[in-house]
Amino acid sequence: MTSVAVPAPHVAAAAHAKTGLWSWITTVDHKRIGILYFVTAFIFFLAGGIEATMMRIQLAAPNATFVDARTFNALFTMHGTTMVFLALMPLSAAFFNFVVPLQLGARDVAFPRLNAFSYWVFLLGGLFLNSSWLFKAAPDTGWFGYANLTSKTFSPGHAVDFWMLGLQILGIASLAAAFNFIVTILNLRAPGMTFMRMPIFCWMTLVTSFLIILAFPVITVALVLLMFDRFTGTSFFVPAGGGDPVLWQHLFWIFGHPEVYILILPAMGIVSEVLPTFSRKPLFGYPFVVYSGLFIGILGFGVWSHHMFSVGLGPIADSVFAITTMLIAIPTGVKIFNWIATLWGGHIRPTTAFHFAVGFIAMFILGGLSGIEHASPPADLQQTDTYFVVAHFHYVLFGGTILGIFAGIYYWFPKVTGRLLSEGLGKIHFWLTMLGFNLTFFPMHLLGLWGMPRRIYTYDKGLGFDTLNLVCTIGAFVLVISTLVFIVNMLKSIRGGKPSGPDPWDARTIEWSIPSPPPEYNFAEIPTIEHRDDLWERKRSGKGPYPQPANAHVHMPNPSYWPLVTAIGILLFFIGLMLSIYLAIFGFVFTAFGIYRWAFEPAG
């Protein structure tokens, strides 16, 4: 099952189709799956961006009529759901897939077919969720789907069904991927790679994966209860039947707060790789960065009720959750100081990747500062449900996660494609992003403190909101332009970019010791690791490149279409829950059939 195979006669790999649609449908290669994740998630990212832009057009001027209230609700719901589940998480997953096995010195992930399965379920779940637009049933209850707005009484029709079933499907994809990456990181490290020699990005992937496997079952249960309420008429969240809508909030945020760290920790991992490379210094305080990441992950399960201060849980609960929330600032601050100390005294090469990584630190600090403000319940009661909160989490998720992901794209693009992204266009992209981002989201702090509520589709003249809202909208268009610059850069560089060679950045970790793009089997011979930043140490000690056998024959896992078949079965099952029990039964049997064929198929 595992893919660290003994070099064996080159049998199966020769028979694999190398190009064409079928080779992508049946691929189990982590690098191709990583590329599929990236392309799919980037398209969803653009969809979420279009939704955001439409909201900004509507809010550019008072009493605008670009979209109506119902559409506006659907836009902010789908924008949030799309960005969290279909853009940021899978963009991180793209890096997990492409980079982690290479950094570990592995030939693939531990379960290549399960990995393909995760991707297909994610793709089908994303398409299912977004198909709601075609049926004029886009979810409109917010990305958190608070009860009892989601009940059959207040949300008849299929909008909420699309949302809850879509999230169930996507949860399966995330869970399968997380199981896979935990085992990969624990079990497929190259000989000599102890935990404390492991690249930080792998560490953060490990912590994120543990958060996923512990947090997602909770929202699965919440959604199951909601499904029973909507499909069978139970009263889990219906007050008339004795149900308690606050239970939904607890279950949702027990998932939802770890989810925040699921979104940010991978970006922190990326930045921890990019900064040392371009400072030409080891990461300052490596163990502190590792342990802070672990600490953030553990504490992340004990802070959920800070999303619920306005519920009125009482002074004891509010105080406890305020304190745990403030505690999280400590490991986060430790990380920030470690990054800054990494820069200190380094021979800095200001590449685009480096720009984005430093941008991440600056913007994430601003997001953290507004976050620590509403860790305090009295302050939070003023800020909750205002644009101040919108500003806060965009500084964290855009200024943090997205900038970190861009840093990762500029950093690893040469490894994926063998070509460098244009640095000129990259710098334009960076500065336009910083300008557009701050123009869009900084004024929202002020708007929020002045009392502008979230999730309103328009506002009246003379409330003092007009000018800053226009500024926000202008900023959004600057972001649109910056994204276009990035797309142009990618498209130009894939074909005509400067060839990068294996190690364009004089980097530190072993993925840069193999050709770009890497061969299907990654490492002809698995390197033996002697140091943290082993490649860097090796280059500095004059040992020369890792030994490579002259003639690499590596046995690779067989391609398989059963992961896709099984994923289709799961999709049919969930569509069936909404439309017809017969389709659900068919989907269930179809899934079982796929699993059986998969289980008894030779893995190669």
Binding site: M1, A5, A110, F179, I213, S235, G242, G243, I254, Y596
Partner: protein, 198 residues
Amino acid sequence: MATAAAAADHHYTTTGLNSRKMLFWTFLGSECMFFGSLISTYLVYKNHSTTGPYPHEVLNIPLTSISAFVLLMSSLTMVLALAGVQRDRIGQAKLWLAATAFLGMIFIGNQVYEFHHFVTSEGLTLQKNLFGASFFVLTGFHGAHVTVGVIWLLSLLIMAFSGKLSSKNSLDVEIAGLYWHFVDIVWIGIFTLIYLIQ
């Protein structure tokens, strides 16, 4: 790696632990949160039903004790089945796999009877009150897990009868056993929290 052909199934791993087994442990960790959330929901809604029937009126402790005992015994037969496969005593493995599946089916049969009795004789349905909703969803998900386990065991039994089961792939049985014991342990929790502590 160089030991023997038998080792070929067990590729080198960093921790020395088998990857499939490790994957399955992570899955069980996830399942703990799943059942933990369902059990919490039940406990949060305990005594919140606005109308009867209430737990003490319908739950049959003696009958459920028997089915709990049956499920516990099935863990014993599961251990014996694994021991048989590991020692290449396939006849013994077949017997105990069949026994485990059979005991699992008795448990499910009892649950079907219990659900049927609650609905038809006691008037307790999913929609009746919060007790009904949280009870049926929690125990129903557990029953579904047992059902999946029975199907899994029967699949292993078919493999055994077609000569595909030996000590070389005893891991297949071991992982099914992990699942089976887990489902068993969850039932101990459910039985204690829902039936015994009313």
